[in-house]
Symmetry: C2
Subunit: 491 residues, 2 copies
């Protein structure tokens, strides 16, 4: 049973064979840090997080690089407009690097909450100016790039494979472009490697072509090469970056290095909110901090970050995902079911008697695991993976009613930790047990009160027994009487 | 009343007058990210954190830059030895930039816990290679630096003021150096601006002098200039960096720019542990994560990060500080006193009746504030600042017994928030009230139990009243009876 990825480059599912046995290098296009991360970021980075986790589960030594774009990303996503960071920084009257610092920290804060593992390296575009200049020099030397007025452009006509990722034809692209008489490019489809800076441009560096800054596409070619080599195993990113961003990356890297750039191109699909593309003017633009606090008019409540993670994993990474309050509510309730079961399991482990593990349960666990792996091997089918976790919840609840041995419970818990924890990142290693918070004092007090109530009933002091029950009901606590005694829970 | 700093450069206390009215630029030497932050880092970064906070309290618009050293810091802290990150990365068999990423994240995690505000920009040395090369070019052009075999050195003899910060004389330094016949430097006191890289050196960049990497001292000159300008208001750092690091920074910057580099040089003193300099071989090397978990043979328990912060603020930043288990215990108990008082104050605010604030209390608060400011204005005397907070604790406990108005309590709380919170960073805006955790249920239950006990006493059911008291004592809860009723607290 092998891991297969749908490779956007070949447009088919292919077995994943890394360049170096036992290792995998993966590069994912990271955020442009000029605002708080939103639902689109959650979709992309949770998707690739699970891929990294699954590769590691399979025993691969993964190097995971995800860049931080702090310079060069222009407002129109192509070669025109202003630098997105410079615009935002000017509004706040701070240095663009202070803006980058703030939103980089904000990004990692959100990703940590979503339980995404940190990339091994998060290289910054502005931290790799010499390397970018050097790649441009190579491209000029090899005839793939030309300088005009202090800017340098990639000459798409010199790279006949341009379009191989997106399936676009150069001729169609040329004719599709609006005629821009003012352009200094030879052809509209050419793209910027280096842009001449206006004197008042705050982020600029010296180069052989004068003061300027790198084009947006270049950083990914340069930083992936620096940290992973000229040919890398996996490149991930959002579908919206397939063209022109990734197409341009391929052109630059393959032209400069003369070898294949990326073996497996993986693209996550996009998100909608309440069925519509997110847009600030539509009032459906929701950032992650708003999801975590519930502070948005489209949200009825705060959701746990792991519930947002569940919602992403509920659909395939290559499928579009619609966020809505209802979908989040449903994900939260699914997560709660899993969490309650795992907590009950772990509580039971503490008191269960030791004896051999139940072989039937072990067999069922092995079957679950096989189905989980088969789903994940099939281009990371996380929704089937999640369904296996739900089956394990069902199994847990059955087993807990049947006086299981500690070994049986531990085997189930271990599988929750590995498949639900290590791979999917939705089962945590430890939970704050809210009922047992404050050093168990709450439980002690409730035990005492339950005892007083039992005494009152024994003494036929119905007034006191009722008073205790009613007062607790006021506090939101309900008693459940059974032949084995009385338990309590919060409404 | 003006703020005065002890300026290491002039060796006297001087009034702080910023270059630009209403603004202050401050640069602090940050960590070399090849290991977890330890007690020495806490001393330095808490000290400068309070300085930043106090400048902001005074209404200044502060830009706070603190670098991250990820390349060029050699194992002997001077021009010889290996790169500290490269050595550590090789041991772990990862890329030095992955090591830097890991320990940068670890550093900020610890600093966040210590309640240090994030610097506005945390520039990385490796992210400023072009700027470093450019400054070297200027120094060569102006005759302050020379190239030998692909390395570039600063010619100390060309900068007669070398030694002005540390008070050392060039002649003494020259004769004091051991004679190193193999050295390619003109004089032993010269220092590296650029080091030629051996072919197997993993972090290297192209330069006009061939492949190499920047000298350690250079980054701070370059990054402070980039983000704060050629002359900066304040430069901070540990005393151990006064020479050679800061002396070299002055030489480079002033030689290159032809103007004063730093107006106010501030140096924090160093730490000892149990009276001895920290050293891995002495088993007294304690990192911050160990303080927070208590996981070190010299520690009897875990300490809250804010207790470690208290300990640092208890002594002056220019005084040496001895960390010990006993000192941490004492800081923790001081912090607990403050926290208990502030919590009680905030609890009382919720139920206190509204009426005019007590003018005597307001007067006392104003006096406290004046003493606080006088102490802080006197070269940031945090231990006197802390003593003002303790006086406020005493005042709070007195006031709480005297049926105060909500306005009185709010005035006290506001002063706690500003002086203890905004400036010293030891009073938090919100506390998880452990007594009131779990939606206040604990408080409700205790209220109910206290009521039952009062009823029992009213009914002269001493057996029940005693039983309630004894059971609660078992749970670690003690009652405090007063004419106004009964309160409870955990032992």
């Amino acid at each position: 049973m092998e891991l297969k990825f749908y490779n956007s480059l070949t447009r088919k599912k292919e077995e994943f064979i890394p360049i170096q046995e036992g290792r995998a290098g993966m590069y994912v296009c990271g955020p442009t840090v000029y605002g708080d991360a939103h639902l689109g970021h959650a979709k992309s980075y949770i998707s690739f997080d699970v891929i990294v986790r699954y590769l590691r589960y399979l025993g691969l030594d993964v190097t995971y690089i995800q860049n931080i774009t702090d310079v060069g990303h222009l407002t129109d996503d192509a070669d025109e407009g202003e630098d997105k960071l410079a615009v935002a920084a000017r509004k706040q009257r701070i240095h663009p690097m202070a803006l980058a610092e703030h939103y980089t920290a904000s990004y990692f804060e959100d990703m940590d909450k979503l339980n995404c593992v940190r990339p091994d390296i998060s290289p910054r575009a502005a931290a790799h100016i010499p390397e970018q200049i050097e790649m441009i020099e190579v491209l000029i030397e090899k005839g793939f790039a030309y300088e005009v007025n202090g800017s340098v452009y990639f000459d798409v006509s010199k790279f006949p494979e341009y379009g191989k990722l997106s399936g676009r034809k150069i001729e169609d692209m040329q004719s599709g472009h609006r005629i821009d008489v003012a352009s200094e490019k030879r052809e509209p489809v050419d793209f910027a490697l280096w842009k001449k800076a206006q004197p008042n441009h705050i982020m600029q560096w010296n180069s052989p072509w004068g003061k300027g800054y790198p084009g947006w596409h270049l950083e990914c070619s340069v930083m992936s090469m620096k940290y992973l080599g000229k040919t890398i195993d996996i490149h991930g990113g959002g579908l919206e970056n397939k063209f022109p961003h990734h197409e341009c990356e391929i052109a630059q890297s393959e032209a400069a290095n003369g070898c294949l750039f990326v073996r497996y191109w993986l693209h996550n699909n996009m998100v909608t909110v309440d069925g519509t593309k997110m847009g600030k003017s539509l009032n459906n633009f929701i950032n992650l901090k708003q999801v975590f606090t519930g502070d948005h008019e489209r949200l009825s409540r705060a959701y746990s970050p792991i519930a947002a993670r569940m919602l992403v994993l509920n659909s395939h990474y290559r499928s579009p995902l619609d966020f809505s309050d209802a979908a989040l509510t449903s994900a939260q309730s699914g997560l709660d079911r899993i969490t309650v079961a795992v907590k009950a399991l772990r509580k039971a482990i503490k008191t269960a008697a030791s004896s051999e593990a139940d072989s039937k349960i072990i067999e069922r666990l092995d079957e679950s695991k096989s189905r989980f792996e088969a789903a994940m091997n099939d281009d990371i089918n996380t929704s089937v993976g999640l369904s296996v976790i739900y089956e394990m919840v069902k199994m847990t609840n059955e087993v807990l009613d049947a006086n299981p041995s500690r070994e049986t419970l531990e085997a189930i818990d271990n599988q929750f930790r590995v498949l639900g924890g290590d791979v999917l990142g939705i089962v945590l290693d430890s939970y704050e047990d809210t009922n047992a918070s404050d050093d168990g004092l709450l439980d002690h007090l409730m035990g005492f009160i339950i005892e007083q109530r039992a005494l009152a009933r024994e003494n036929k002091d119905w007034a006191l027994a009722d008073k205790i029950r009613d007062t607790m009901a006021e506090f939101g606590v309900v008693f459940k009487d059974s032949p084995n005694g009385t338990t309590w829970q919060k409404k």
